[in-house]
């Protein structure tokens, strides 16, 4: 497995910060706009360390009054509850403003994490960005 060559896990090992840099698939985040919708692209992992950057990105959009948000997770390979918490804490606010946070591109592994906690009942989990844009333009009434 890449990133482990320098690390001897047999027996006692004291980690250093430098070694963390060797862990593959670091976190990256990017915000763009398409058809008047904010698209936040997540890459790598969102955990308790990187979630504050994700939170800041969502907050930047909501504070600017941009409440139609798509979070593209196609390049996201891991999320913990710290990342899920960002979706939780903003969704009421954006819906009150007539917007939504739509989540797309989930890998089976990441999707499983969302589904364990029942996110599929409260959020649109969609295939990709075009599908999510379409859902904003033509919302589906269910029930």
């Amino acid at each position: 497995m890449p990133g482990l060559e320098k690390t001897n896990f047999s027996g006692y090992h004291r980690a250093t910060f430098k070694e963390v840099e060797d862990v593959p698939n670091p976190f990256a985040i990017q915000t763009s706009t398409q058809a008047g919708i904010s698209i936040i692209t997540l890459e790598g992992f969102v955990d308790a360390h990187t979630a504050p950057q994700f939170e800041q990105a969502v907050q930047t959009e909501t504070e600017a009054g941009r409440c139609r948000i798509i979070v593209d997770c196609a390049k996201l390979n891991y999320i913990s509850s710290a990342g899920l918490g960002v979706f939780m804490s903003f969704i009421e606010e954006v819906r009150e403003q007539g917007g939504d946070i739509k989540i797309c591109g989930l890998s089976p592994k990441v999707r499983h994490t969302f589904e364990i906690l029942g996110f599929q009942d409260l959020y649109d989990l969609l295939e990709d960005v075009p599908t999510a844009i379409q859902r904003f333009e033509a919302p589906v009434k269910e029930g």
């Binding site: 497995m1 690390t7 090992h13 963390v20 308790a48 360390h49 913990s80 509850s81 710290a82 009942d121």
Partner: protein
């Protein structure tokens, strides 16, 4: 051949920066134990959640403190022990509201313990506040389906 219990230990400074390293450690051990990718993913998430709790709540982000993660591979199970000397808490007293309630209250936390319980087969806490807190979790080893 008699099975040999294999033990691995990781000591890391209490910083969320080290969560990635902790996940690498447990996924490597899970792989060595012969677990399926799905179960390794569950183990990875459970240990991350538990260690994030220690770093943020037990130690309050005090990087001079240390989180210790022990992994013990047994014949049919992988045992994980996470210990700290920080501010302990009784998980039984921590409310675990449903997702819709957390969303309505605009909370960003409150899911970690629920995830841990859901992902692992056994979860036990031993808490002596300020002295030693230990979370012991077990994941049974189900060999990957080769069909």
């Amino acid at each position: 051949m008699a099975s040999v219990e294999r033990k691995f230990t990781l000591h890391v400074p209490s910083s969320t920066e080290n969560l990635a390293l902790i996940r690498e450690f447990v996924t490597t051990v899970g792989s060595q134990a012969g677990m399926s990718d799905t179960d390794i993913g569950k183990l990875e998430l459970a240990v991350d959640e538990a260690c994030a709790n220690v770093i943020e709540h037990a130690y309050g982000h005090d990087v001079s403190k240390e989180v210790i993660i022990r992994a013990i591979i047994e014949e049919d199970a992988l045992r994980i022990e996470i210990s700290d000397t920080g501010k302990g808490f009784d998980p039984a007293t921590v409310p675990q509201p449903e997702l819709d309630q957390l969303v309505a209250q605009r909370k960003s936390g409150g899911l970690g313990l629920r995830l841990i319980k859901n992902l692992m087969d056994e979860v036990q806490y031993e808490i002596v506040p300020g002295q030693k807190n230990e979370l012991r979790m077990t994941k049974r080893i189900r060999k990957p389906d080769r069909n």
